[in-house]
């Protein structure tokens, strides 16, 4: 929330006059940016509010879950278990929801996500900072690799459209995206891990080999890469197909445009046509896809991280849901939402940078 403020100020400062033409241009740009950022902030607030109440509507609360646990595993009576749970948790099930909400919003504004309810003494923010980098690393590399590979293959397919290679790649892309990514993950585990014994599944659990010391040393980096390899591969397999097909179709339609023919007629080099005319225009729709894909990949990380026992945000979310750890759940949703909103924002701003028509069109409305 607080991070939005400096950006807003910055946007206003950019609008300061230099000369008349630049001023009008910058004002339009400024208002476009301003509006986009404001919308993002409102969205984040709405999501916090929505998930806050949704999470607290879930049957059972953390105290109940812990009481159940104590009764079943330590054979305590209900009263004993309740008093033990009450003394351990700071959570008060009798506080009204509105009070909880206002208190929480106040905390969030101060960038404080509160304390984890079930693991007392642990700050949710610390937990998130512990798990988030791994998810960002794995899902981010997956997204980036899929983006680059998909764009390149898409352009190749478009340039050779209706050839056997195009048809084969289209079919391949369709099959890749048809099958759920966790199904690919299971197939890889069963075929390459269990049947062919190419890798040891047990050793690849977690985010890195616990015998290495975290830091900037070779064994640690190698183990991190090894452990992330399968999740990243599966993320890529899940989304690269849609990138390929979208980039292909987008490039095909750009190749049919008059300005490409004109560029050809002018005798421009293939390379220049590809980069300045085709590539730039064909990749425009990809930026709107980027935001959707970030949501998809963060969502699927919940399953993929469970499958590969990769300790990231998705794994943490499932844990906090089963424990009914409200503050942790809330924190995860907040972070996921901020990442999606932020990437939407970046995609929007990048789009407006790449395609001036957007910001002029939006600004003059």
């Amino acid at each position: 929330m607080a991070t939005g403020a400096p950006a807003v100020r910055e946007a206003k400062e950019i609008g300061r006059p230099a000369n008349l033409l630049v001023t009008t241009f910058q004002q339009i740009w400024g208002s476009y940016t301003l509006r986009t950022i404001l919308q993002a902030l409102i969205t984040i607030w709405a999501v916090i509010t929505f998930t806050f109440f949704l999470i607290r509507l879930m049957p059972g609360n953390p105290v109940d879950v812990y009481v159940d646990y104590l009764i079943n595993l330590e054979n305590l009576s209900y009263e004993e278990a309740l008093s033990r749970a009450a003394s351990q948790f700071k959570f008060d099930p009798n506080e009204s929801m509105i009070q909880q909400y206002l208190r929480y919003m106040g905390q969030v504004l101060r960038l404080d996500l509160g304390e984890s309810i079930t693991s007392t003494g642990t700050q949710v923010l610390d937990q998130i900072l512990r798990f988030l980098p791994w998810t960002l690393f794995a899902a981010g590399s997956g997204l980036l690799i899929a983006f680059v590979v998909g764009m390149i293959l898409g352009v190749i397919m478009a340039y050779n459209r209706n050839s056997w290679a195009d048809n084969a790649l289209s079919l391949f892309a369709a099959i890749l995206s048809a099958v759920p990514n966790y199904i690919w993950g299971l197939l890889i585990l069963i075929i390459f891990g269990v049947q062919l014994n190419l890798f040891q599944i047990g050793e690849l659990r977690g985010t890195y080999d616990p015998t290495t010391t975290p830091g900037f040393n070779l064994p640690f980096i190698i183990s991190v890469l090894e452990h992330a390899f399968l999740p990243v591969l599966v993320y890529v397999m899940g989304i690269v197909g849609s990138w390929m097909l979208n980039m292909r179709n987008s490039t095909v339609s750009v190749l049919g445009e008059d300005y490409v023919n004109v560029a050809r007629a002018r005798g421009l080099s293939q390379r220049r046509i590809l980069t300045a005319y085709v590539g730039r225009n064909a990749s425009l729709p990809m930026f709107t896809l980027l935001a959707i894909n970030i949501g998809l990949i963060l969502g699927s990380s919940v399953i993929i991280e469970q499958l590969f026992v990769y300790k990231g945000m998705g794994d943490f979310l499932i844990w906090s849901i089963t424990q009914r750890d409200y503050t942790s759940m809330q924190g995860v949703f907040l972070v996921i939402t901020i990442s999606v909103v932020l990437s939407n924002l970046i995609a929007d701003l990048l789009y407006s940078q790449l395609d001036p028509r957007v910001r002029v069109g939006e600004g003059s409305r």
Binding site: A46, L54, P59, A178, L187, G193, L296, L298, V302, V340
Partner: protein, 412 residues
């Protein structure tokens, strides 16, 4: 997409059958041209038969057969005899007045010997299972020559008789008959139940739920998208904002929370489908909104509006028929997405387990560790392949439909 109404009006007085034949011919031609689409179509027909007729032909195997646990595909019962009897005893009938035939209870051999049990010409002995010891006892009895033949599961032959710690006395035992009874085509699960029967019976609920969810989300998208585009103004802004809002929260985590919230009632598949649909409509809704925005500028819509035919008429009669192909294709994609969400939910154990579907098989494969053992791979691999094939069939078919409606996609 706009060519369709013209096509319809070619022969206004043609018969019902003739009307039906034209699109069927177009459809057949499109599939013939797109071989991958044909494969997808055949796959879909196969799955349709599998979930309708399959359960009648292959009933769900609920019989716990304790000594056939997690056996690999192709396993079946075998006849174990002494080496010098191998020529004499080749089938169960050879035991008529000849010797003692034995089997172990609860191993599925009961069905095989049932016709002979009451026949005075046969001597049939049964060993009690007693938590697995019965199998070894029966082999011991055979080795001691107390019985002449033993019906035993091929896995047990491999483990007990041919295994590295088999006693010397087992050396002269041979399998005289390669396989009795119905083989377990895909092996057995952790309770010795036939996996093939689970694959046949476990697809119906998933496919029906996915189709329902796809239908619901497509309907929501059509209604909200057309209303937003045709009404404009405040309704449009509110609906678009709602769509963007739902898109902002990643779908799967939200679905998990909602599933926990709904709890056991989620075993109602209509509710599950509705829940999935409530999170899946926004992308299609935005696409339909922009499609309707462009369609509404067409002349025939302008005419309808000028004639004051009403929003309902404009949507149902003028706009909807012109985006049917788009809707049909997106319905298929919504179905595949619903399959993803639904099975993911079951896989994580976040949906109540009501019937033994492919998703539940995956869940047990993960939680019972069969995923990590080479011999029991079939328990996870079978549903994995079933799901993958279904999804691929759907998508290949969707591509053929897309090509049928959009001639520009046809390869030369």
């Amino acid at each position: 997409m706009s060519e369709i109404p013209e096509k319809r009006k070619i022969e206004p007085e043609s018969s019902f059958l003739g009307d039906l034949m034209v699109p069927l011919k177009v459809f057949g031609k499109a599939l013939w041209r797109n071989k991958a689409g044909l494969v997808g179509f055949i796959g879909l027909v196969f799955f349709l038969l599998l979930i309708t007729i399959g359960p009648v032909l292959v009933p769900f195997d609920d019989q716990v057969k304790l000594d056939q646990i997690a056996a690999p595909p192709g396993s079946r019962l075998q006849l174990l005899v002494h080496a010098d009897d191998a020529e004499r005893f080749r089938s169960l009938q050879d035991f008529e007045g000849q010797g003692v035939l034995a089997y172990v209870e609860k191993t599925g051999a009961e069905d095989l010997v049932a016709p002979y049990v009451d026949d005075p010409n046969y001597t049939i002995e049964d060993f009690r299972f007693r938590s697995g010891r019965g199998v070894r006892e029966s082999v011991d009895a055979l080795a001691r020559d107390e019985i002449d033949g033993l019906i035993i599961f091929s896995e047990n032959v491999r483990m007990i008789v041919n295994g590295p710690d088999a006693p010397e006395a087992y050396q002269n035992l041979v399998v005289s008959n390669e396989g009795l009874g119905v083989p377990h085509l895909l092996g057995t699960d952790t309770q010795g139940r036939d996996i093939f029967s689970h694959i046949v019976n476990g697809g119906g609920s998933l496919i029906v739920t996915a189709l329902l969810a796809g239908m619901f989300s497509t309907l929501i998208a059509i209604v909200l998208g057309s209303v937003a585009a045709l009404q404009g103004g405040l309704p449009d802004r509110m609906l678009t904002a709602a769509a963007n809002f739902v898109l902002t929260i990643p779908r799967f985590p939200l679905l998990v929370v909602l599933a926990v919230l709904v709890g056991d009632q989620l075993s109602n598949f209509v509710l599950l489908a509705a829940l999935i649909a409530s999170l899946s409509w926004p992308v299609l809704m935005r696409a339909i909104r922009s499609l309707v925005l462009s369609l509404r500028e067409r002349d025939y819509v302008e005419v309808a509006r000028a004639l004051d035919l009403g929003t309902g008429h404009i949507i149902m009669r003028e706009i909807l028929p012109n985006m049917m192909s788009f809707v049909a294709i997106n319905f298929i994609f919504a179905t595949t997405a619903a399959m993803y969400l639904q099975i993911g939910l079951i896989f994580l154990g976040m949906a109540p387990i009501t019937d033994y579907s492919w998703g539940v098989m995956l869940y047990f494969g993960r939680t019972r560790g069969t995923l990590f053992s080479a011999d029991s791979a079939s328990m996870v691999l079978s549903p994995v392949i079933a799901i993958a094939l279904f999804q691929v069939s759907l998508v290949l078919f969707a591509r053929a439909v897309e090509e049928m409606f959009d001639p520009r996609l046809r390869s030369a």
